[in-house]
Amino acid sequence: MFELIKLEWKKHRTSKYIRNAVITTAILLVFIVGMAGELAADTTMEAYGRSSINASVDLFVNMCYIVFTGVMLAAFVVGAYEKRTINLMFSYPISRKKILLSKMFAVWIFNFAAMVVSKGVIYAVLLIVNVSGDTIQFMSVSFWLDILIGSAAMVSITYIALLIGVKMKSSKATIITAVIIVCLTQGNIGTYTLKDSLSFYLILLLLSVFSVFLAIYNAETKDVM
């Protein structure tokens, strides 16, 4: 399986995605450090509290990588149907489920890792420039656990976009769905937001598991057009 995942990375020139992820993180960093500086001014700090820094790091990194995951799913999975290279893949002596799963895992692993690294780097820089005081518990297990679980959840729910993309055989639809997911999970209307609702996330997670299931359950017998 890992061999297949590596081949997927190779096929899709993953170095290009790594470069883009680095650029994204750099831009986010500038943005957040700038904002943190603003927050550090006494009056705003009192108004918002120091912990709002952590929330905005989460917010921006999540937003970026949900779209990133959508783009990669479009290229790795939906694109294969669009460009019909999936016909070629299905002529190999490998189970179709495995082929499709390897594509999905290739995207998942990449984005999960990128998200964790990205958050780690941003927090580290914030710690060094020392604008957020003691809210960044760099040494605590729960701090890192939060990052790991949060990143895994965010990347996972983006797989809902797969359902739309594979059904419509359209990369554009996949990416648009990813953007809608960003709005739903990260956005707010006034003070109302779904961001903190655990049950909402659970529903999304179930939906994404269902999407993955739908994309592969009849792969072995379904005719590829």
Partner: protein, 310 residues
């Protein structure tokens, strides 16, 4: 009989439309099997089912004496194929595409890529991205990929579509060589009959989703008669001369003023002499041999349709 590939009453229905029905197809080990049919006759549908891309609605397919199931992956190791048109990862080079193919096929013999590139004369272009290739180059690369992992069975769906006449000839020679030297079995589809005629050992003719005939080329040659083709200016008079003066029964008018005489005893000289003596002007006369095309058209009935349209 030892068939490497056999289909039993294969039917495929997609969206209520019957693409092929009750096809029985038999390919012997080590032969070149030409699969003939007009566009839309069902050639690609059959080949998709043989390579397990599609599953038959009814009937089954046996390859290497095993019935194909949705989980028959191992059998794909022994098959090289091009279905419809060769697909590549366009941003990668030809060589990278072949390397990738080897990895997925689980094949690791060194030097095989160079050999395949060389056989198809594409070594020079091997390090350019596939998106810069012409259609003919892609076909060549597709064939290189199909033969790369030493398959026992080659399934080629119209592989010479984008090739020039010289390229077609080269591919024909290559296939014949592979067949003779490595004992590869080749199933090749085409609607260009002359292309198949010179290489196939057996042909299967499919028409409107039905198998019309499976026959060896030797049998076709035997079954097809020689005939005298005759063009005259006055067809009525000519017909009466042929029937009455020469006593010929087995001839027919194929077009206005054009006859084909199938009687084996008739010699062109005698026919010419009789016609001239009876004041029938001859425009052309000559001995002919029925080609695969004639046979195909006779079988599929397309020739009558054409004449009616004319």
């Amino acid at each position: 009989m030892d068939y490497i590939l056999q289909t039993n009453q294969v039917t495929k229905i997609i969206g209520g439309k019957k693409l092929v029905s009750n096809i029985d197809l038999h390919v012997k080990k080590g032969e070149i099997y030409g699969f003939l049919g007009l566009n839309g006759a069902g050639k690609t549908s059959m080949m998709k089912m043989i390579t397990n891309l599609w599953k038959p609605t009814a009937g089954n397919i046996e390859i290497f004496r095993e019935v194909l199931t949705p989980k028959s992956y191992e059998v794909l190791k022994k098959i090289g194929s091009i279905i419809e048109f060769p697909l590549f990862y366009e941003h990668m080079t030809g060589r990278e595409n072949l390397q990738l193919h080897c990895k997925y096929m689980g094949y690791s013999k060194s030097g095989s890529i160079e050999k395949a590139l060389d056989l198809l004369n594409i070594t020079e272009a091997a390090d350019k991205p596939v998106k810069s290739y012409s259609l003919g180059m892609k076909e060549r690369l597709g064939i290189a990929r199909a033969i790369l992992c030493e398959p026992e069975l080659l399934i080629l769906d119209e592989p010479t579509n984008g090739l020039d006449p010289a390229g077609m000839k080269q591919i024909r020679e290559l296939l014949r060589k592979l067949c003779a030297e490595q004992g590869i079995t080749v199933m090749i589809s085409s609607h260009i009959l002359s292309e198949i005629e010179s290489i196939a050992d057996t042909v299967g003719i499919i028409h409107n989703g039905q198998m019309m005939k499976e026959i060896s080329m030797c049998d076709i040659e035997e079954a097809n008669q020689n005939y005298i083709e005759l063009t005259v200016t006055n067809s009525q008079k000519a017909a009466s001369v042929l029937a009455e003066k020469l006593g010929l029964a087995n001839f027919k008018a194929v077009e206005d003023n054009k006859f084909r005489i199938y009687e084996q005893t008739a010699a062109p000289q005698a026919v010419a002499r009789a016609l001239v003596l009876n004041d029938v002007d001859i425009v052309a006369i000559g001995k002919h041999m029925e080609t695969l095309e004639d046979y195909f058209l006779k079988l599929t009935g397309e020739v009558e349709n054409n004449v009616r349209v004319d």
